[in-house]
Symmetry: D3
Subunit: 112 residues, 6 copies
């Protein structure tokens, strides 16, 4: 079964805490930067979240996909917009991304 | 434990269904194409299934490996032929593929 | 020196012709699909071009970056929007993408 | 929950056994070579284990990370040295490696 | 222009020589193994060369593609068989492989 | 021919300048961080440069390899130490890294 978003979120938070407790300064600064880059700029946060989702799908990382689905949904991306972004990821990244698309659509359903 | 082939197959089918229910036309057309490309051509289906298996192993995707092992076995590929294809994947892809080889040989045993 | 956009475009067109002359049907169908997926949908073409650009940057393919920069520019993406999309690619994909960012900003200058 | 090191080690050993029982000679020779390359040379084993850990992190393979964490720890690498190596992996490989850093720091805690 | 096969072959030979002059034993043993794994086994050399070609295409390495095209052609693989193998690589690896397909079909023409 | 280190260095500097002229703040901060992470810490700079080199080789980026070879050499890494680090990269990353090893050993000769 796909992990539900609440469990994912608390597992992710606990893990990040452990990283940051043990991390040298470079890692802490990277985490801060990784937060800021998705903030509204000339591109709205919603578009940036879809960029993060597509990048995570072609690079095939389920935890990253889950996080960006949460963010994109919170920014107001619709299921249809998300599905189109995933369609581009599939074309760019090929059939090797299909298991990650299965995960994405299941997690999206859990989010709804 | 490695998931048994029956459970894998029904998880995979359910997931693909969910994708196709929500997918834009581009994704549906990709899925059709992804089925057709492995059909007999100037290369027999068995060879194509081994090509799909090797590609899945160097790209390191267990669900893709499981699917191509099922297809290759159904096309008549022997355990020895599959092991040679995985040997090439290991040489091309390096030690980072070893956990995927462990999975492949375990899933192959489940299939037998 | 970075290849100028006109030379890139004719090299790309010649190469694609050669592929399509020799390609089995599956490849031709893929090319058609790869064209259609970037058309206006619930997401505008400009956003889709930025998705293609970001995916190409994290996967580190200069020819793909050049193509999506041309498309994004033609769709009205500004230099600032493109730079933000590349910033997300850099954060997701890491310093290994930096040579591709150098290429992207040089090609963008040639396009202007 | 992160698998504990003892369970990981016995799962890994069982899997490798299964590979080697079924493997053609090329795979067996690769496994031998993959063992020898980390032995003391002009670089000490500890440095080589950190090289293996960093490579495994940028290529994003948890089982490989677990193995190299065990080896690096056994060779005397401290938590601070490991954290710096993971910091470099994060910078080179980008935010897509973050879930693997979470795994690494959790597994490291289990090892302690 | 695509490098002609003769120039590629001598550049490749010179480069390999330089590697082997400076290489520790592990690298030399890897090179020997990398030669042996493509020899006739339960799978014929031609099939193995197509496996190497497909793996090289999804991993996107032109020099590796050139080498496997030479080997596959020498083993008797026809242009149609090679094109089908590249079609599978395209489906598995996605549009990001297209520039590598352009290279492959151009190099194949040079080989003819 | 392999580009000589002087030409590489000025091409790299010009490219980075162009990126930084056009870059949003996130990219500038990433560049600063990417410089700092290789400074002496609990691991000496030389070890960090070898970590960067190995990561660049398994991720197959010649410009990144060239840069880390310059840094590692300046930090006092010997040819034998570099060759052992590249041997680990080859084992982890497989034969697909061989063209990058050819480049690395040629660039190293130019550096000498």
């Amino acid at each position: 079964m796909t992990e539900n978003p609440h469990d994912f979120e608390s597992r992710r938070a606990r893990g990040n805490e452990r990283v940051l407790e043990n991390a040298p300064l470079a890692i802490k600064r990277f985490f801060a930067l990784d937060h800021d880059v998705y903030e509204d700029g000339v591109l709205p946060k919603k578009t940036k979240d879809l960029l993060g989702l597509t990048a995570s799908t072609v690079l095939r990382c389920n935890d990253c996909i889950a996080h960006h689905l949460e963010e994109a949904t919170a920014s107001g991306a619709t299921r249809e917009e998300i599905a189109e972004a995933l369609g581009i990821a599939l074309l760019v990244g090929g059939s090797i991304t299909i298991p990650y698309l299965r995960f994405a659509f299941e997690f999206l359903e859990e989010l709804a």
